[in-house]
């Protein structure tokens, strides 16, 4: 990539692409700012009722007071921690079970109808059962997040394993590979893109599980804040929580995307 010998056409091209990229970025930022500005303005001018819609300045004030009281971090970390644990356990557990089912054709055939039913079942319906069994604490919430992501993980992973090119497996067999070697040297690495995309889906699902769980039982967390805020009609708290949630969820998603880039170097 030498910067010295750039033809005028190339310079032109680079400038144009750069300009296009900046234009997209600026528009994106503009939409965000405009959204908040219009919201604030509409609330101040009484076009909308800030009592039920809240307003950015109110949200900011709430964030400040939550920050000052220190409870903001308790709620944020509670939720992030629950999500992280649920996400990790759901992904790892799902992967493990998928490997097991790949290993044993018998097991996979036996479990098939159960997986189909469990997959179709809205896991939220199991929430109350979880609470009864595990108490109204973090355990039930994490279980919820886990449950919501594990079945999808199993199914998508197993499908990925089974669609690995049979000839790649044959190739290893010609060298006399054992089933364990086939798993480690072909199935898992070939499924890496699949695993990563499961991670991406699971991040989202775990947030759903955790927030649902917090709606049902919790004493802390962003889901708790949202429910609490709506019950006492403090929409500032609700909106602040939703905004934090959006930022945290996006951050986690970006983390996975970063991981993807790192791990799938060979795809580029």
């Amino acid at each position: 990539m030498s910067q010295v010998n750039i033809s005028p056409e190339r310079r032109d091209y680079l400038r144009r692409t750069h300009r296009k990229r900046m234009l997209v970025l600026i528009t994106q930022l503009f939409i965000l700012m405009a959204f908040f500005a219009v919201w604030e303005l509409a609330a101040r001018m009484q076009w909308i009722d800030p009592f039920i819609t809240s307003q950015p300045s109110g949200v900011l004030k709430t964030l400040k007071s939550l920050h000052a009281g220190g409870s903001l971090y308790l709620h944020v970390w509670t939720t992030i921690w629950e999500t992280f644990v649920g996400f990790t356990a759901g992904t790892a557990g799902g992967l493990l079970i998928a490997v097991l089912l790949w290993w044993s054709n018998f097991l996979s055939r036996v479990s098939e109808p159960y997986l189909v039913v469990l997959n179709a079942l809205p896991k939220v319906a199991l929430g109350p059962i979880l609470i009864v069994w595990m108490g109204n604490g973090m355990g039930a919430i994490i279980a919820m997040a886990l449950l919501i992501s594990i079945i999808v993980t199993i199914i998508s992973m197993l499908n990925g394993f089974l669609t690995v090119d049979q000839d790649k497996i044959k190739l290893l067999k010609t060298f006399g590979a054992s089933r364990y070697q086939i798993l480690c040297k072909v199935i898992l690495p070939a499924s890496l893109p699949n695993i990563i995309s499961a991670l991406k889906v699971n991040v989202g699902l775990s947030w759903v599980g955790v927030i649902m769980g917090e709606f049902l039982v919790s004493k802390a967390g962003l889901g708790y804040l949202i429910i609490y805020g709506s019950q006492v009609f403090k929409l500032d708290i609700v909106m602040a929580s939703v905004i934090i949630l959006a930022v945290a969820a996006a951050a986690m998603y970006l983390g996975v995307s970063y991981l993807e880039k790192k791990m799938l170097k060979w795809q580029q």
């Binding site: 090119d165 000839d167 790649k168 044959k170 190739l171 290893l172 067999k173 010609t174 060298f175 006399g176 590979a177 070697q181 040297k185 072909v186 690495p189 070939a190 890496l192 060979w266 795809q267």
Partner: protein
């Protein structure tokens, strides 16, 4: 007196599925001597590849005897290089699976890569290589476990025509140089004639040996591309073509 490397006697193969039974191979006997290049041609779906699977131990024949003297190396139609491994690590997959001494294997693979012009690409990923280079890497991967007999299953048919002609030449030269025996399954009659000492024609499924041609061209030991210019090349081609044709129309 040459050594017999591979011998098949009265091989029979039936595949079972829920839908029914398929008789792939009825009665095949053949033997291949050390250093010999033997091609198997036949109508598609006649069980040519199954013979290779039986030879390499991937499938067990329903009846008959397989005698193999030495190690088998398998080359498939596509290179099947693992996209997540560099060329060097792809070539090391065989020794790795077989638990060989990796240091020695690494050295010998690097030597092979150098000899066959992939030195500068050994730390590249497969998608950075051309089709011909990839197939060459696949050959080195096969050679890395030091097989005595190479089984080539349509090893060139995924390549474009020009690459294919050069690759046939290249692989032939490499295998001759490394003193290997080769059994080649192909549907390309010209390829078979240009590469082989003998051609075995299979019948329609269930496969039987229909006829065997010893290829004697004017100049023995010429590379395949040269062989294509030989006068007798066309004669063999016509003869084998007719033999296959009968079964297509009949």
């Amino acid at each position: 007196m040459s050594v017999i490397k591979v011998e098949l006697q009265n091989i029979e193969m039936k595949f079972q599925t829920v839908e029914g039974e398929t008789e792939a191979i009825r009665n095949v006997s053949l033997s291949v001597e050390a250093g010999e290049f033997v091609s198997i041609v036949g109508p598609s779906g006649c069980g040519k590849s199954t013979i290779l699977n039986i030879l390499s131990g991937l499938n067990k024949s329903t009846a008959g005897q397989v005698r193999v003297n030495g190690r088998m190396g398998y080359m498939l139609q596509k290179d099947h290089l693992f996209e997540w491994r560099t060329i060097l690590n792809n070539c090391l997959v065989g020794p790795e699976v077989q638990g060989q001494d990796m240091k020695a294997a690494r050295e010998s693979v690097i030597h092979l890569l150098k000899t066959y012009g992939l030195e500068n690409f050994m730390h590249h990923y497969p998608n950075q290589l051309s089709g011909g280079m990839r197939q060459r890497a696949a050959l080195i991967r096969t050679l890395a476990v030091n097989p005595d007999v190479l089984l080539l299953d349509e090893a060139f048919s995924a390549l474009d025509y020009q690459t294919r002609l050069t690759m046939v030449d290249e692989v032939w030269t490499i295998l001759k140089k490394e003193n290997k025996t080769a059994i080649i399954v192909t549907h390309d009659i010209a390829e078979a004639i240009s590469m082989s000492d003998r051609i075995i024609v299979f019948s329609h499924r269930p496969a039987e040996v229909k006829s065997i041609y010893s290829i004697e061209l004017a100049q023995a030991g010429n590379p395949p591309l040269e062989n294509r210019k030989d006068e007798r090349f066309r004669h063999y081609f016509d003869a084998i073509w007719k033999e296959l044709d009968v079964h297509v129309t009949g």
